[in-house]
């Protein structure tokens, strides 16, 4: 890294990496957190016509600040249309209109299957996680699904404690399943043929061994492993301009 290169966090490069993969006009099903930052960054940079759909029913939302919840008032305010939750999941998601869906998870396996339900046994959980939310249908019906999560042996596991969401194409939905996993170390993509996730891109200053060490299965590495370019100054500036509004709040 040269002295003049801007410094950035892993989260920032994750958002930038996912954003770069969104083409202009892509219709995105977006959650809160990193996915929302990524999609809004794309809209603020190379993909101004990126369409944002939130599971709360906001279609074509154009938030002027980063929403704090998937049902932020800003989303309804700036949306082309607001529909009911049953409609967003049936006519719009399952109807096949979404290009890219974003998901997080507590665990992922080599097939891109996800766990967001429990750590440990279902009936005697060590950690009770929030649950499925929109994930099973997002992974089934978006043309592509991007997963964003930090890579550790506890999250990238040989065997999920619970299979909440089928990540591979065989799920039987209309989409291709998980096509890209953006972590804080690089990018994993399904191997043509087998569908097993393998390392295809590395973040700067990260090695393939770092990634292997952070993976609970025997991670395969693409022959043509590439290195992700650091965020440009423009990307970083746009990303950092994406902040939540300063709202009047009443502390409890």
């Amino acid at each position: 890294m040269t002295v003049d290169a801007p410094t950035y966090t892993a989260d920032e490069l994750m958002a930038v990496t996912a954003a770069r993969r969104l083409s202009d006009g892509a219709v995105c099903f977006v959650g809160i957190g990193l996915p929302s930052r990524a999609a809004n960054l794309a809209r603020a940079t190379h993909a101004p016509n990126c369409v944002l759909i939130y599971e709360s029913g906001a279609i074509g939302a154009k938030p002027r600040h980063l929403p704090l919840s998937i049902g932020d008032g800003e989303l309804a305010e700036t949306a082309d249309a607001v529909v009911s939750v049953p409609e967003i999941f049936t006519y719009w998601l399952q109807g096949g209109w979404i290009d890219v869906g974003f998901l997080g998870a507590a665990q992922i396996d080599r097939h891109g299957n996800l766990n967001s339900t429990v750590i440990g046994d279902y009936d005697e959980p060590k950690v009770r996680l929030p649950g499925a939310g929109g994930a099973p249908e997002i992974a089934s019906w978006c043309r592509e699904t991007f997963v964003m999560l930090r890579q550790t042996p506890r999250t990238f596991v040989e065997r999920l404690d619970f299979l909440t969401t089928v990540g591979h194409q065989a799920a039987g939905g209309g989409g291709a399943g998980v096509t890209c996993v953006v972590t804080d170390l690089g990018v994993l993509e399904p191997t043509p043929g087998t569908g097993e996730l393998r390392l295809t891109e590395l973040f700067p200053n990260v090695t393939a061994d770092d990634a292997r060490g952070a993976t609970g299965w025997d991670l395969q590495v693409a022959d043509d492993l590439e290195t992700v370019s650091p965020p440009s100054a423009g990307e970083l500036e746009a990303l950092r301009a994406l902040v939540p509004a300063n709202e009047e709040t009443v502390a409890p």
């Binding site: 809160i32 957190g33 599971e55 709360s56 029913g57 906001a58 704090l68 919840s69 998937i70 049902g71 932020d72 008032g73 989303l75 309804a76 305010e77 249309a81 607001v82 009911s84 939750v85 049953p86 999941f89 049936t90 998601l93 399952q94 339900t117 279902y122 959980p125 060590k126 950690v127 009770r128 996680l129 929030p130 649950g131 499925a132 939310g133 929109g134 994930a135 099973p136 249908e137 992974a139 089934s140 019906w141 619970f162 299979l163 909440t164 969401t165 089928v166 065989a170 799920a171 039987g172 939905g173 939540p244 709202e247 009047e248 709040t249 009443v250 502390a251 409890p252």
Partner: protein, 285 residues
């Protein structure tokens, strides 16, 4: 035909111990005032239904009102865990909590089926998941294509409770902005309570508004500010600091009980609750 009655009376008359009760509002218009009133009136053994059992259900569960939870995503949105929900599931505190969980699409299909008076709804995301083994899921075959499709039971609560921006004096209700499954839960429940920000002489038509005629509602109860800490589009914003602070309050059993005692059990209604919160600078939590 909707009667306009105080919330205390609506809860007293319409919600019984052991009922299946759905408080809905998807991130918006969450009926917190009604949740507090259920706690004040010490309802027990409820089956609580809600897609996103966030702070409102964390409070009800922590106060021991619930026997079972039917849900699809149980977290503190943008913050983290619901500690009271986790404590109930992981440590049976204050009492065990039975879970029935679905995906959002499954819950939405159940609510839609309930409103439409179908015995079940269809959902196409359960195939291959472990959800099917842990929750109430059936399967039907398409008579035309042979395809196997998952079915979820219709959700028809004993009482459906939502918060809305406005009602008129006849009890017709209007809400707008993100409308979630509010229409479905009111139409699909045996009895319904709608808390409202205000009662107005006339409901002007608005874009993206949902209108619930008075004859679909059992009780309308004024509860200005009754969605706090969530928001009421056009009235007030989400209290994001509250959601963050809830993480600390909810994490500790004693602190949680103390907070609930002072803010809910010791207040008479949403107006007193809001006054107490507004006084926070001179009387810190």
């Amino acid at each position: 035909m909707a009667e306009i009655v105080p919330l205390t009376e609506a809860v007293r008359e319409l919600v019984r111990d052991g009922d299946v009760v759905a408080l809905e509002g998807f991130t918006h218009l969450i009926p917190h005032a009604a949740g507090h009133e259920l706690i004040r009136q010490r309802r027990r053994d409820l089956t609580l239904v809600r897609m996103t059992p966030d702070v409102v259900y964390d409070q009800l569960i922590g106060m021991g009102c619930a026997r079972k939870l039917i849900f699809s995503w149980g977290g503190n949105p943008g913050v983290g865990s619901l500690h009271r929900l986790r404590d109930a599931v992981e440590h049976d505190w204050p009492s065990p909590l039975e879970l029935e969980e679905h995906s959002h699409a499954g819950m939405a299909a159940g609510y839609a089926a309930g409103a439409a008076n179908f015995p079940f709804g269809l959902v196409r995301g359960y195939e291959g998941t472990d959800l099917a083994e842990q929750t109430r899921v059936g399967w039907v075959s398409c008579p035309f294509t042979g395809e196997r499709v998952a079915a979820v039971p219709a959700i028809r609560p004993d009482v459906g409770i939502v918060h809305a921006q406005r009602a008129d004096e006849a009890g017709n209700v209007q809400l707008w902005g993100i409308s979630g499954v509010q229409k479905e839960v009111v139409l699909g429940s045996s009895r319904s309570i709608v808390t409202v920000e205000e009662i107005v002489p006339e409901l002007e038509p608005r874009p993206d508004a949902v209108l619930l005629p008075a004859w679909t509602i059992t009780a309308v109860s004024p509860a200005p500010g009754g969605a706090h800490p969530s928001y009421a589009h056009g009235y007030y914003d989400r209290d994001n600091a509250f959601y963050v602070a809830w993480d600390e309050i909810g994490r500790d059993r004693d602190r949680f009980r103390d907070w609930m005692q002072r803010h809910v059990l010791d207040t008479a209604d949403v107006t007193e609750y809001r006054s107490l919160l507004a006084a926070r600078e001179t009387s810190p939590v």
